[in-house]
Symmetry: C5
Amino acid sequence: MAKTGKKRSKKIGLPPGTLVHIGEGKVSAPRITVIDFNEPHFEEKEVKTIDECFLFRDKPTVTWVNVDGVHQIEIIEKLGQCFGFHPLVMEDILNTDQRPKMEIYGDYLYIVLKMLHGGDAGHSVEGEQVSLILGSNFVISFQEEKEGDVFNPVRERIRTSKGLIRKMGSDYLAYSLIDTIVDHYFLILERLGDQVELLEEELMTHPTDQTIKKIQAIRNEIAFVRRVVWPLREVVSNLGRRESPLIKETTEIYLRDVYDHTVQIMDTIESYRDIISGMLDIYLSSVSNRLNSVMKVLTIIATIFMPLTFIAGIYGMNFKYMPELEWRWGYPAIWMVIVFIGIFMVVFYKKKKWI
Amino acid sequence: MAKTGKKRSKKIGLPPGTLVHIGEGKVSAPRITVIDFNEPHFEEKEVKTIDECFLFRDKPTVTWVNVDGVHQIEIIEKLGQCFGFHPLVMEDILNTDQRPKMEIYGDYLYIVLKMLHGGDAGHSVEGEQVSLILGSNFVISFQEEKEGDVFNPVRERIRTSKGLIRKMGSDYLAYSLIDTIVDHYFLILERLGDQVELLEEELMTHPTDQTIKKIQAIRNEIAFVRRVVWPLREVVSNLGRRESPLIKETTEIYLRDVYDHTVQIMDTIESYRDIISGMLDIYLSSVSNRLNSVMKVLTIIATIFMPLTFIAGIYGMNFKYMPELEWRWGYPAIWMVIVFIGIFMVVFYKKKKWI
Amino acid sequence: MAKTGKKRSKKIGLPPGTLVHIGEGKVSAPRITVIDFNEPHFEEKEVKTIDECFLFRDKPTVTWVNVDGVHQIEIIEKLGQCFGFHPLVMEDILNTDQRPKMEIYGDYLYIVLKMLHGGDAGHSVEGEQVSLILGSNFVISFQEEKEGDVFNPVRERIRTSKGLIRKMGSDYLAYSLIDTIVDHYFLILERLGDQVELLEEELMTHPTDQTIKKIQAIRNEIAFVRRVVWPLREVVSNLGRRESPLIKETTEIYLRDVYDHTVQIMDTIESYRDIISGMLDIYLSSVSNRLNSVMKVLTIIATIFMPLTFIAGIYGMNFKYMPELEWRWGYPAIWMVIVFIGIFMVVFYKKKKWI
Amino acid sequence: MAKTGKKRSKKIGLPPGTLVHIGEGKVSAPRITVIDFNEPHFEEKEVKTIDECFLFRDKPTVTWVNVDGVHQIEIIEKLGQCFGFHPLVMEDILNTDQRPKMEIYGDYLYIVLKMLHGGDAGHSVEGEQVSLILGSNFVISFQEEKEGDVFNPVRERIRTSKGLIRKMGSDYLAYSLIDTIVDHYFLILERLGDQVELLEEELMTHPTDQTIKKIQAIRNEIAFVRRVVWPLREVVSNLGRRESPLIKETTEIYLRDVYDHTVQIMDTIESYRDIISGMLDIYLSSVSNRLNSVMKVLTIIATIFMPLTFIAGIYGMNFKYMPELEWRWGYPAIWMVIVFIGIFMVVFYKKKKWI
Amino acid sequence: MAKTGKKRSKKIGLPPGTLVHIGEGKVSAPRITVIDFNEPHFEEKEVKTIDECFLFRDKPTVTWVNVDGVHQIEIIEKLGQCFGFHPLVMEDILNTDQRPKMEIYGDYLYIVLKMLHGGDAGHSVEGEQVSLILGSNFVISFQEEKEGDVFNPVRERIRTSKGLIRKMGSDYLAYSLIDTIVDHYFLILERLGDQVELLEEELMTHPTDQTIKKIQAIRNEIAFVRRVVWPLREVVSNLGRRESPLIKETTEIYLRDVYDHTVQIMDTIESYRDIISGMLDIYLSSVSNRLNSVMKVLTIIATIFMPLTFIAGIYGMNFKYMPELEWRWGYPAIWMVIVFIGIFMVVFYKKKKWI
């Protein structure tokens, strides 16, 4: 989770725009799918080589190229040259430790997002970088890993022409992809919320030494999600302000809706942070309270038996002249004293509410 | 209270504008009431089907349609189609986990508010989503639940033509509804304030292990109210700035008044937060102080009786040649030593202010 | 102190502008005084009925009407009607739980301030609402309570024509009233400062369980003053920016001076907050240090006497064959062992700097 | 240090512009020196009465009047009348509890600064108010106390015509004075930095009960410096933005340099604050760690000797039929048991890393 | 690390622009290298005297002068006079305690950066000041120390004409130098990240008294890096906004890329700070938990053996009439009582989950 920035150092000294893949290596070849559509027309195919994509470039229809896996540099490089993307864009697609951001390059927009996975018990939240390039009639999306393709519902909507997606342009497609990703965040938040609730219960009923570590772990998870959502909010807000003519007015309202979702996610995150910081206070005070009750047990036992042992010790002395020892009722009398002291102490501590 | 965002995930992958009710399900049918008025005229009726409302749409009089219960999707859908509302507005009305917000849509405004219930001892504060759509001659309000209709005083004022409400337009009606909701917040705050005071007293007189949990609980309640009021303030401020021509100049001053109330509520919330954070400090130090006093009791008893028991132990030894044992006044002398040591210790601890 | 917002709830559902007095009730009648002056002329009288004031309304001279006590609704109402004030202004004058604010209404300004009382030992700081209405040739001031009239020095200056007050217009009079109130804050701050110093000394010399409660109490007092001064600063700053033509350029410089004072007060408050938060740290560590020293006493006594008591216990055993018991010098030898162990422990703890 | 605002209250009710000296009283007469120069010309003299200064007023040369001591109201008053300064300026010069600020008055600027003294061990940082009035051909400076005249280097530079000072106008002279004061802050910071380092060492090697108080004391010192530098930064920034024509373009670059210094000072202060807040954490945990080690000593000794004393107690019982007592090797056997238990406990605690 | 501001005081009273070297002294002579290039041409040489550089000044090619070591004032002075730099620039180059900043001087820009070294275990992060002066056809760079020349990769790229560097102007060269420095920060962050991970592991498995000090040490390191990166971000952002015509439009996009890197670094730093503050909480609670377990051991042993010792003490008393002592099965009975009490206590503590 604290891995951001790792391995970045291997790029020191290289000229800008040098394509180096920063992230975990993959062996299998990237999978490239192309979907080309407008309202009446729909075409979908999985291509073997990237060159097949270029046929769609100059068509008036909306083309969506999805690249699963960014570890094969040549593919990214070829794509960039064909579409005329800036080398820095290509570089950023390969560096999977980017923050969410949006950059305006003349006739295309470059958007970096983070897809989130995991978040249920035992699995920490992990981010997968998703890059989008939005042109006037195309969207190119790059996903880091293949596991669980989150864009399937969008694909399905295009295939079945459900909703507006076939009627609108490439900007609406880009919006749909962003929306899908943001909707996934709610899933992550729900899982984290469940864990927070479990932790709250654990804290109230049987806090252990491990509780604090779990609290910190989930706090770090939430901080991670926060660091992803925070810049995303700005990205969506900027898109919604339509600084680029690529975003049409009809899409603006949908982007505003996504923006509302990001604000709502931030809100939920803040409320989790509040709750967790309260849990820390409760935990620390529960540790102190447990110490208090341990010490009370010790104090009660010690203060009852120490005087009694002393009395027993007195009459265990071997002085020649100890008149009490000779008394007929000395031993029972001592027992009475002992019982009296014991009862007195118990009553005393009862009054002090220690027992 | 930490339920925001829950169940949201079931919308993943659906196209925007798909109407899905997010919130707790209801069985009974929604209740729809229509009030139509201008200065001389007044009409009120409860309608069975939503179609009856549409008669009022094109009248010049102010029409207020109130929908109690948003779980029946068809009603909302029909209403939206008739009045020509954007699908995203309809979607947001059904999602009862929105933040307070205002959106300007050409010829109507969409406003989301939160009505607050509860807040007295044993009942946590709960939010109910209230959506308002303000057009040039109508207000449509959607309430999530039916329990306790907060808009009754407004209805009464319209019926009896009390105040300005019959003389002003739909924007004044919307203001009146918002004002009623904000006024209710003061009630919640007063209840929370009472609880804070009770807790302060408990903390001062007899803090227990539960006190910290109560403090945290009320802290979370207040954080919840804060999250509701904070965005509301912005909503009211934006309305007051009259960014839409739907808000007339005569209403601006009233909205400014509501804005002042929200600022005052935030102020009160901040002061509660201050007090509660101070209570946490007092609680933690009271735990430490109690530990201190427990340990003092133990230390006093132990340090008095340990030396005495040792002395008794000495003269319990069975050495053959222990001259003191033979002395006539050995035993009384030992008692004197014991009493002296005891008194010395007590005086010593008195001086140290431990007793 | 946490009473802001109390009783506000009794206004729920009333139309805006409904006059309800919110605050502590009074029995005696409000006292109304009128001062009318310009450079050559001066007139002062206490009026029985509010109607007498209206004679001064249209005179070119500066008229200052001061109303002591705002619990009699009719007076406020009549005044408002006569001068043509907005109903919301009248409402706010009666609600004595307003935050300091300034509102511009065409030809008059409405200003809410808080006069502060108390602040010395045993007396918590209390706020009294002072409302000012500034017109082109009049100032109307409303004070909540009568106790100690803070405006007397201003009155005296008008009577004796000291300073510029008779030469300038109504805006300068309003400035003088505000200035007087702000100057009183310095008094409150000095008293709080004295208490902070006393607490610092208590903390350094003999902290008790009560110290933390005193620290929190004064923290709350300071937070209260802060909540009053913070919005006031903005009020004065807005006045100084001369957003209304009622404030003349010659008065601007004086308002800037008052603004500087409010900034200085905030500065002092922040420094008190810093000091108090430091006191909390010192207090908590002093509690821990005291526990440490209690435990050291216990540990020293226990670790010295436990081994000794054990040794005494050994030779108190009744085994038949214990050669040491028969030795001539057994008993003195044991004493030597005991003394040696005792000295050793004391030296050991000296080295550890525990004694 | 928390003295800001003290004695201010004695001005309550006075009309603005009333000259009252707020600060510590002085007996000796203020010392007034005049330096008059341009590139070829230089004249310096100490004047007896303020009237001698007025000769220089209308000369085209740059005149620097320095007043050491502001407790004699008449001098300030005369000066103000002669140069036509606003009464509020005169008032502020006498109130030595101002925050650093700059005010633009038509043809002159009024600047308040704080000279800092002390800051080495045992001496707390103290501020001395320095007021500057900058006109087109004069600078008048007011110093509160005489101790150590910080402006001597500037005087020397004028006398010897070192640097640009004789070639530039009055604004450069004002800059030089401000620069000298800001440079002195570095000295104070170095001293505080030395103290922070000493405290860090004390904390690492031998923290005592006093350490926390020293930490708080230096924290307060740093907070004091911060409150002085923070507004100063704004003053210098405003000067550098040349809002008044009195600041010439050639001086702007030098003011930017001073501004950089103030930013650097703030940076250093923030880093000290960070370090000190870290020291607090270390201190609190060191107190807890010491408690831990005290309790370990107690626990080790108690848990070793309690079972042993119990065993010895058993064989100290006087039952008639206790076969072990009669055994030949009973006593040595018991010793073996005791030694075994002792060794076992020591090994046990070694394993637990307590010893 | 807290050395910022040190030795600055020796400049008090000197006129601005006086060249004094502030930093650690050096003996060896500075090394000056000149690289002169455009697309076809390349020349590199190490010069003995600074005068040789001036030949390149008026050539249209891009000239890069690199000065290693800023302790020889004459060299800096000469350079400044020849190129006509402002004395304040020269002064700032010599003061190696500057914050990163950028200043626009007519036809050249002055940029201060910090190169970071160290950061691995046992070595604290250290900053080296790098000053850049960017003119229309030259870049002059000043490095404080010689150890490890970070600009070598850039030199190599110029020599081999790799990337765009030979095709672009002086602003691209300046960008390349800044980029190289920022890339080095990632290296430092990775090292700090490794240390944070090691500390986390230490904290989880075997926290000691030293752990808190290590946590604070790394916290201070990170704070140091933060103070360097924070102003740098602004510098790069300002450069990218092309406030000076010296930055060409083609370079803007690259500067935006560097800006993204600085934002990413700040992000990583913030995440480390979060983690470290969580570690502090875990550490403090681990100290408390250890105390708890120490006290449990003591309490268990003490509460078991104190009653037993008391019982043994009873039957060690020497009363004449103690019937139990005479019983045949008295001794075994007592043992049974003792064993029963012992088992009872162990079961009791098992139930309490203390064992």
